[in-house]
């Protein structure tokens, strides 16, 4: 029979009000903002190949984001959401995982997906909701997902992926193959009830999961000062009895090292870990948002100065693993690749109309088949009104 409780608290005999800020959690950082390692630090063991992969992924994401924001402005896609300024957090953490580990994203982690090997073409097909999109054009742009790459399909409702990560990790623990789940979420999403559910369940069920909070200071227009009163998200980990690390989210080496340690704890000791990566959302929330309405240029500029890409570039330059020219050339290359794939993807038609009823269930129900037949007859009757699919019903 389970015992009621284990720990006996110490006794005090006068009212002791614990202050809301009783626990100050420091931030782990390896590189200063210019990319120079702090004195006497132990840098994580990263070989050149991995370092260059991390760097080129960062460069790619920067290009992709800038290019797609432009594409949205040109009306070529309906919506985009960039990770400008937060590339180190997603790419550094993804790099510390094993490929078999599951990644569950919020929506601003294209860096992790690219690191896993999602191709430019795959990005474009999703962004253009075309027939080649793995998601069959059903969700808005940036809702990527890929089973082959162990990257769970994004869903818009915030926070829902957090208890799901706990469940996924529980399954991994039962399977016993030494894999874990890393789940991303913003400091805004951490206000959702699902955050509380997922964190507490993970702590008590001891699952191999890493809860990676990207604290970028804003949830759309809401600054963190109106999101919460405490010292960010990290102290909540302790509230659940969960091991917790706060890291500089703009320092890719620190993020890498922190996630490596978290992964070790998760997989070897079944200790879930909360990581809070401190960063800043450099762009608007999405292409539907204009941040000038709610924050100052000065604030943005202060953070622009801490750019994670510049910081890592400087580090690699100093180390001699890249030179300016090659780096610029690589950037130019991905620019061209993005543009070429963009042009290709926008030519691909939408999925066939039959796809409208697939995947609601494993096989379409009788009623869905009838609805599809009625729809097709209707489209046949009014082909001009449904130009994207009328070809397919002829």
């Amino acid at each position: 029979m389970a015992t009621q409780t284990t720990k006996q608290p110490d006794v005090v005999t006068s009212v002791e009000v614990i202050d809301g800020n009783a626990l100050r959690i420091p931030m782990f950082q390896l590189l200063d903002k210019d990319g120079t390692p702090h004195k006497d630090v132990k840098l994580p063991e990263i070989d050149k190949e991995l370092a260059l992969k991390m760097f080129s992924t960062m460069q790619f994401i920067r290009v992709l984001d800038e290019r797609m924001i432009a594409a949205q402005r040109q009306g070529r896609i309906s919506f985009y959401l960039s990770s400008l300024g937060e590339e180190a957090a997603s790419i550094g953490s993804a790099a510390a995982l094993k490929f078999e580990d599951m990644i569950m994203g919020q929506y601003r982690e294209q860096g992790s997906l690219a690191f896993r090997g999602f191709t430019v073409e795959q990005f474009m097909n999703q962004l253009f909701s075309n027939a080649k999109d793995l998601g069959k054009g059903r969700q808005m742009p940036v809702h990527y997902g890929c089973a082959d790459l162990n990257f769970m399909t994004i869903s818009s409702p915030l926070g829902t992926q957090i208890p799901q990560a706990t469940g996924y990790a529980f399954g991994q623990k039962q399977a016993g193959e030494g894999h874990c789940t890393l789940v991303y979420f913003g400091e805004g999403a951490a206000s959702e009830g699902d955050f509380h559910a997922g964190m507490n369940m993970a702590a008590v069920l001891k699952v191999p999961a890493i809860f990676f909070c990207r604290n970028n200071g804003y949830a759309i227009s809401t600054p963190i000062s109106e999101q919460l009163a405490g010292d960010g998200i990290a102290p909540r980990g302790v509230g659940y009895g969960m091991k917790t690390i706060r890291v500089d989210g703009n320092d890719i080496l620190a993020v890498y090292a922190a996630t490596q340690e978290a992964r070790r704890l998760a997989v070897e000791e079944n200790e879930p870990v909360l990581i809070e990566a401190m960063s800043y959302r450099m762009a608007g929330h999405s292409t539907s948002d204009d941040p000038t309405g709610y924050r100052t240029r000065e604030e943005e500029n202060a953070w622009r100065d801490k750019c994670p890409l510049k910081r890592f570039r400087n580090f690699l330059l100093a180390k001699g693993w890249i030179n300016e020219e090659d780096a610029d050339a690589q950037q130019q290359e991905v620019k061209e690749a993005v543009l070429a794939e963009l042009k290709k993807a926008e030519q691909v038609p939408v999925p066939h109309i039959d796809e409208i009823i697939n995947d609601v269930y494993d096989t379409p129900t009788q009623q869905l088949k009838e609805q599809l037949e009625a729809l097709k007859a209707h489209v046949r009757q009014y082909p001009d009104a449904y130009p994207k699919t009328s070809e397919g019903v002829k």
Binding site: Q139, S156, E192, I220, Q227, I353, I356, L368, H378
Partner: protein, 325 residues
């Protein structure tokens, strides 16, 4: 009178309500300084202060839980849920708490002051999670009122009535009309009664029933049908709960035919309730089966949005099917 779009009409209703009664407050995600992602609460924080128009943390169950408590204290909270698709985390607070608050306490307490505003509906390339029409999920809940306006004029008058109605109201705003629908709207306050349908257009051959943005779709369908010489009556329910069955039944007794056109997926949509009730009360008057035009029974798709929707052509075809039965 002034030309207003639907957002401006809503903003005007909120502004007047806040000016009239200082127990009215407005809150939700991003509604404060920024004025909401659609800007419906624009300028209200400046005018009424951070205590009466403010951002909440990002937690819908908290927003409604908080609003329930605030209403039970005697205030008139107007809580915004940023998208109708994100109202489900608050489902328990709405269905188990808001709706049952007065009844379960024997009227010791109530949350009658509460109004929940949320944009709903498709046609904006929003995919699964920025397009749903969840009214039917709430219509099975005694204790709630559900109101959906079809244009700026209706929006303002119905929202003012909702805010000051002594019962909790879920006020759903057709977001694709936020800026698209523009009309003459009085600048001062006025009230449109809840629970009463509106005969948008009289006719004799067939009755069309809808609500919210779907009225526009129905009007387009009716235009086509009238070219065929069919004389259509259009009824805007305006309130989903309680709904004005008398008005619909009376109309169907006159026309003998009924088509319901609705955005939500077919099965379990509110049109089923309308059809079930009308066939019961107007059985002997019906000349053809009641037809429902609805979204498909799938999640709301992005690339196939056009095909998915209950548009004017599908509605027009249903009118023809009803007449040719």
């Amino acid at each position: 009178m002034a030309k207003m779009n639907l957002l401006q009409a809503i903003n005007s209703a909120l502004d007047l309500a806040m000016a009239k009664n200082d127990k009215v407050s407005v809150f939700g995600e991003d509604v404060g300084h920024f004025g909401g992602v659609f800007r419906a609460t624009s300028g209200l924080q400046e005018k009424y202060g951070r205590n009466r128009c403010f951002n909440t943390p990002l937690v819908e169950q908290g927003i409604i839980g908080f609003a329930n408590g605030l209403a039970s204290q005697g205030s008139l909270p107007v809580a915004e849920i940023q998208f109708g698709d994100y109202i489900f985390p608050a489902f328990d607070q709405i269905v188990n708490e808001t709706a049952k608050f007065r009844y379960r306490s024997g009227n010791e307490f109530n949350v009658g002051g509460l109004t929940i505003r949320t944009p709903y509906g498709g046609g904006i390339h929003g995919g699964h999670y920025h397009s749903q029409s969840p009214e039917a999920y709430f219509a099975h809940t005694p204790g709630l009122k559900i109101v959906i306006p079809r244009n700026p004029y209706e929006a303002k008058g119905l929202l003012l009535s909702s805010i000051f109605d002594p019962n909790p109201v879920l006020f759903m705003e057709p977001k694709r009309m936020y800026r698209a629908a523009v009309g003459e709207v009085p600048e001062e306050e006025y009230y449109i009664p809840l629970g009463k349908a509106d005969v948008v257009k009289e006719g004799s051959d067939i009755t069309l029933v809808g609500w919210g943005a779907q009225i526009e779709v129905i009007e387009k369908a009716v235009e086509l049908a009238e070219k065929d010489g069919v004389n259509c009556e259009i009824i805007d329910l305006r309130s989903i709960l309680p709904w004005d069955a008398d008005a619909v039944v009376e109309s169907v007794m006159k026309t003998g035919r009924l088509v319901i056109s609705q955005e939500a997926p077919h099965t379990g949509a509110f049109g089923s309730e309308v059809a079930a009730t009308v066939q019961e009360r107007a059985f002997l008057y019906l000349e053809s089966p009641i037809m429902r035009v609805s979204g498909l029974d799938t999640p709301y798709p992005l690339a196939h949005e056009k095909e998915y929707m209950a548009d004017h052509l599908k509605t027009y075809e249903a009118i023809k099917r009803s007449l040719n039965y």
